[in-house]
């Protein structure tokens, strides 16, 4: 991957410091993290609307900002398109006026041609003479994209483009946005606090927390192998816990947790080899905990890995599935407050096993379902 965009910036504000470094190639980089983590501030630095205190921003062959060299290209000359949160369409201009706003300075005929081209490509021709307040949320999104794309920017910045919409529309427009970005083939940086959005739209995901980048990785790697405990927490991964290492090899890690000896697969791409007796963090996806049927116990003769037993202490009906909170049959305080493990079972399984009647269960975990996280 050739890196198209290189960002290394520092900006000190009242009670907040942004200090980030990441790079991205062609395609979409999603800046993901909770509100107030510095994602929008990063976009504003990229666009030249906010001047960093130190650092360097390089886009392709152009240095946009370099504090050491005294370079700070004005936002007007950065060739960066910006889609603002809430879109920031000019309310006093028509759709055509908005889309053509960045084309001033071109010859009238050329400007007109480009307007038509952009309007047609985004399916906006029927609305060309309407004002923003007369448009639906989806149409507004397209106008905002059209306005930013009309000038052929080298990079497109999108700040929470879907946050102004309610849920059903949001999903539809997320897919539409993805299709438009793919169609125009433009390099983009997208800010979002929604993991699904980051995952659907981003080729690369940069995870922000409190003004820092805690992981930047291609999306598949991030979701399945978050690099640290904080990444797992920010991504809303449940059952993040801590154990004590027994033995670590290139392909297996054994550790002790709540009186059990558990075995997990070590990541083949970047093996993590903690010393014996050192603490390690791991997580278990709730949907990968396997309840053992009592009527078949001992019958199937399968060797169950990471076998444990416990009691359901709480449950939540999620409609198509149930979330169960299990407490192990072990003395001592449970790992997560009143329970040790959260697991999720499909509704059908819940009904067949009659979990509402029977609260004590044996369960197992395949070693591939336990993900060890390098502590951070």
């Amino acid at each position: 991957m050739t890196s198209r965009l290189e960002v290394a910036i520092r900006k000190q504000l009242d009670g907040f410091t942004l200090d980030v470094e990441w790079s991205a190639g062609d395609g979409v980089a999603a800046l993901f993290g909770p509100s107030g983590a510095g994602k929008t501030l990063t976009l504003q630095c990229l666009a030249g609307l906010v001047r960093p205190d130190a650092g360097r921003i390089v886009l392709g062959d152009d240095v946009l900002f370099d504090a050491a060299a005294g370079i700070d290209v004005a936002p007007q000359r950065r060739r960066v398109g910006y889609v603002f949160q809430g879109y920031a369409l000019f309310p006093h201009l028509t759709v055509r006026g908005n889309v053509g706003f960045g084309l001033r300075g071109r010859a009238r005929a050329g400007r007109r041609r480009r307007e038509e081209e952009v309007l047609a490509r985004l399916g906006l021709e029927p609305y060309a003479e309407r004002y923003p307040r007369e448009l639906s949320g989806g149409q507004r999104q397209r106008v905002a994209l059209g306005r930013a794309l009309a000038t052929d920017p080298a990079l497109l910045l999108l700040d929470e483009p879907l946050s102004a919409l309610d849920l059903p529309l949001r999903q539809a427009l997320r897919d539409e946005l993805g299709a438009i970005l793919a169609d125009w083939g433009i390099a983009a940086v997208l800010v979002t606090h929604d993991l699904t959005e980051a995952y659907r739209l981003g080729d690369r995901i940069v995870v922000y927390e409190e003004g820092r980048v805690i992981q930047a990785a291609p999306r598949a790697e991030l979701l399945w192998r978050p690099s640290s405990r904080s990444v797992a927490r920010i991504m809303g991964i449940r059952n993040v816990m801590q154990g004590v290492t027994l033995k670590a090899t290139a392909d297996r890690i054994q550790f002790r947790w709540r009186g059990q000896v558990l075995e997990a697969v070590n990541s083949p791409s970047r093996s993590y080899l903690p010393a014996p007796d050192s603490p390690l963090a791991f997580y278990i996806r709730p949907e990968y905990v396997r309840l053992l049927r009592k009527d078949r116990a001992g019958l199937d003769g399968v060797h169950h890995m990471n076998l444990m037993s416990g009691t359901v202490v709480r449950e939540v009906d999620l409609g198509t599935s149930w979330t169960l909170f299990l407490r192990l049959d072990e003395p001592g305080p449970p790992a997560q407050g009143e329970y040790d493990l959260e697991l999720e079972v499909p509704r059908l399984v819940y009904e067949i096993l009659e979990i509402d009647r029977d609260r004590h269960w044996q369960f197992s975990l395949h070693r591939g379902a336990i993900h060890v996280l390098p502590s951070a």
Binding site: P75, Q76, H92
Partner: protein, 205 residues
């Protein structure tokens, strides 16, 4: 009318700068522009004489250079009215400019507009109603200006007499009927102006 035009020329840029820029002396400018609203008009008039009179800080050099002095001329009436009406315009216009979404201006920047072009094409058009309301109010204030005008421009019939000054003169000389007519006209005009300005402020841009 001249006072209103001068007001627009001076007041709108001041309102924009106060709303959008953080510059050294910003609070001082804010204070100076607002003072005429609070001070007795005669005090403002006094300061204007100190500043622009024949022996004033600015007036003296001007008189030496050109033999012309502002005091007791038609210009004096215009300047006095402008200064007195400026706070109303600046305050109203500034509030209107501050309500314009900054992201709209940022969008204009990323689309290649300079700050001046952005102000002319985006900010001011969107603050238009508030600015118009401010102009209407300041027009009414300028029309009704009495104290500062009397101080700087005097009350020379046909040259520096404003409507309130005429009313004063009419009362003093016992021409009650003429005073009544002028009072009625000024009251009616003020009502119209207030209604117009309220409507402008209430209307979305």
């Amino acid at each position: 009318m001249s006072a209103t035009a001068l007001n627009a020329l001076v007041g709108i840029p001041i309102a924009y700068l106060l709303a959008r820029r953080r510059f050294w002396g910003r609070n001082l400018v804010d204070l100076l522009v607002t003072l005429p609203l609070i001070l007795p008009p005669t005090v403002v008039g006094y300061y204007l004489i100190v500043l622009l009179g024949r022996r004033g800080v600015l007036g003296a050099p001007l008189y030496r250079a050109t033999g012309f002095t502002v005091a007791f001329t038609w210009y004096a009436a215009v300047i006095a009215a402008t200064v007195m009406a400026l706070p109303l315009l600046v305050r109203t216009a500034r509030a209107a400019i501050e309500t314009v979404d900054r992201d709209l201006e940022r969008a204009a920047f990323t689309l290649g507009r300079s700050e001046l072009r952005t102000a002319l094409e985006v900010t001011l058009p969107l603050a238009r109603n508030g600015i118009l309301a401010g102009l209407v109010l300041s027009f009414a204030r300028a029309l009704g200006e009495f104290g500062a005008t009397l101080m700087l421009a005097g009350n020379i019939p046909g040259r520096t007499t404003t409507v309130p000054l005429s009313i004063y003169t009419a009362m003093q000389t016992g021409e009650d009927a003429e005073a009544l007519v002028l009072v009625a006209v000024l009251t009616a005009l003020s009502c119209v102006v207030l209604i117009a300005s309220n409507r402008l402020v209430a209307r979305p841009a």
